[in-house]
């Protein structure tokens, strides 16, 4: 069966490690942590007083008046999308806008706008509530802004699947191109909810690390001392393009997005399935979809958020679906957990591992869990030829997404 091939021709990101892809990747390979203390006054009362905040504030790149109309998650989605767009070289390529689509999601959306405007409502009354409130907090806002800025007319989509959002948005981009609904899809995720309410909510679930006195060591996937995830903020965007379209314009190709697997647990609203059944199915589906052998997948950028239960369930799922040969990385050890942007940022790391033949380190893995029986690139980046690699993302709600990227 002949099928439409999809390749990645542009990357963009703004993260706790850097204001773009190059600086983020350099910091990852160097094993730097983007986690630090929350010094805001509101943090004093919280059980969690650490987070991975953006290295470059959007106000350094977007003018003040425009920023008044953008939720932070929208502003950083725009920044990452513009970088990816410029990187792709599509701007002056004569691409028909009716063949350009957007698939950018957020796990939580414009929560900081909602809460700030609620403060205004309570203090000053309804007339003082900003007329920009709704377009700032609506969950499709980031995708809509990206579509507006790039002139995308083939549809603007915003999936929401919690911490699987970024990866699912990419899988939707793959579907759109395969279905013939677009030649190019700008796809990724964004999240900016470093605010006391979401932090208090996650902390009440006992999902977050409270290693407040040692922020850089707080995110420690697979380590015995792990005690929850560290919240991060940022955005990651990929330009997905039909392979023959990219070839015809002589585009630089990073990698092939070879396949995707999307499943749901139908098990519990927040707990992952106890045997990782949905995750295993997602990985297997992605491999079948990509038409690669499990032995080709030599590297996995794992979801690995540094939670006691989830980290080891994923190890079991990887072992069941792939075997024991892949070299694993948990880049959340450095970036924290970007929720709806995580799957997009980690796809970028997966792609760059393929391009550069080096897998990023998992920092803070000082005392590995005794059940960790797979090979992890701990502490230091590792040189490794990567013909194909997997990126996992799982989300509250029982969402499981696995993406397979291969060398172009």
């Amino acid at each position: 069966m002949s099928r439409i091939d999809v390749v990645v021709t542009g990357l963009g990101a703004t993260t706790p490690l850097g204001g773009d892809v190059a600086s983020t990747w350099d910091a990852m390979l160097a094993g730097r942590s983007g986690v630090g203390p929350l010094t805001q006054e509101w943090a004093e009362q919280l059980p969690v007083r650490i987070a991975a905040q953006l290295a470059v504030d959007p106000s350094e790149l977007i003018d003040r008046v425009k920023l008044r109309r953008l939720d932070r998650s929208e502003a950083i989605a725009l920044i990452a999308a513009q970088q990816a767009w410029a990187d792709s070289g599509l701007a002056d390529s004569g691409l028909d806008p009716e063949r350009l689509a957007v698939s950018v999601g957020s796990g939580i959306g414009g929560a900081t706008t909602l809460l700030a405007q609620d403060d205004i409502l309570e203090k000053s009354g309804p007339r003082r509530v900003s007329p920009h409130t709704v377009p700032m907090l609506m969950p499709n806002g980031p995708a809509a802004w990206v579509g507006l800025e790039l002139g995308a007319k083939a549809g603007v989509h915003s999936v929401a699947s919690a911490c699987a959002t970024g990866a699912e948005a990419i899988s939707l981009g793959l579907d759109l191109i395969r279905a013939g609904r677009a030649d190019v899809v700008v796809a990724g995720g964004t999240e900016a909810v470093i605010h006391p309410l979401p932090i208090a909510g996650f902390a009440s679930m006992r999902a977050m690390s409270t290693r407040n006195d040692d922020p850089e060591r707080a995110s420690r996937p697979w380590d015995k001392g792990r005690d929850g995830f560290v919240l991060g903020e940022g955005a990651g965007v990929l330009v997905l393009e039909r392979a023959d379209h990219a070839a015809a314009r002589g585009a630089r190709v990073y990698a092939r997005l070879a396949g995707a697997g999307v499943t749901s647990d139908a098990y519990d609203i927040v707990q992952p399935h106890a045997e990782g059944e949905g995750a295993i199915r997602a990985i297997r589906k992605a491999i079948v979809d990509a038409d690669v052998a499990t032995s080709d997948i030599v590297h996995v950028n794992a979801h690995a958020t540094s939670t006691p239960v989830g980290d080891m369930l994923e190890i079991g799922a990887l072992r069941a679906a792939l075997g024991d040969h892949p070299v694993l990385s948990a880049t959340k050890s450095m970036t924290g957990h970007l929720l709806g942007a995580a799957g997009a940022l980690e796809s970028i790391a997966t792609i760059l591992a393929i391009r550069d033949g080096v897998v990023p380190p998992t920092i803070n893995l000082d005392d590995p869990d005794e059940n960790l029986d797979l090979d992890v690139a701990a502490h230091k980046a590792r040189h490794l030829e990567v013909p194909a690699a997997l990126n996992n993302a799982f989300g509250f709600g029982g969402h499981n997404v696995a993406l397979v990227f291969t060398r172009a």
């Binding site: 003040r64 008046v65 425009k66 008044r68 003082r128 900003s130 007329p131 920009h132």
Partner: protein, 79 residues
């Protein structure tokens, strides 16, 4: 308050809300056509003007305020 003072006050608001250069703000200028103030920003301008000048500008009046001069006259009459 003189018309000039009201115009200066509006210019400050327009700069804050919509990024309008204060030098471009004059009584004859249309909010939408000359100063590029869109409908959502106009809502912000009206609310900020109410606060700054201590007046009430009902929504059904806003549509009559086409130019900076219209707004100045309305505020002058109310204050």
């Amino acid at each position: 308050m003189t018309r000039e003072e009201i115009t200066t006050g509006l210019a400050e608001i327009l700069e804050e809300v919509a990024g309008v250069n204060p030098e471009d703000v004059a009584e004859g200028k249309s909010f939408t056509d000359d100063l590029d103030v869109d409908s959502l920003s106009m809502v912000e301008v009206v609310v900020a003007a109410e606060e700054k000048f201590g007046v009430k500008i009902p929504d059904n009046e806003v549509q009559n305020l086409k130019t900076v001069g219209d707004a100045v006259s309305y505020i002058e009459a109310q204050s």
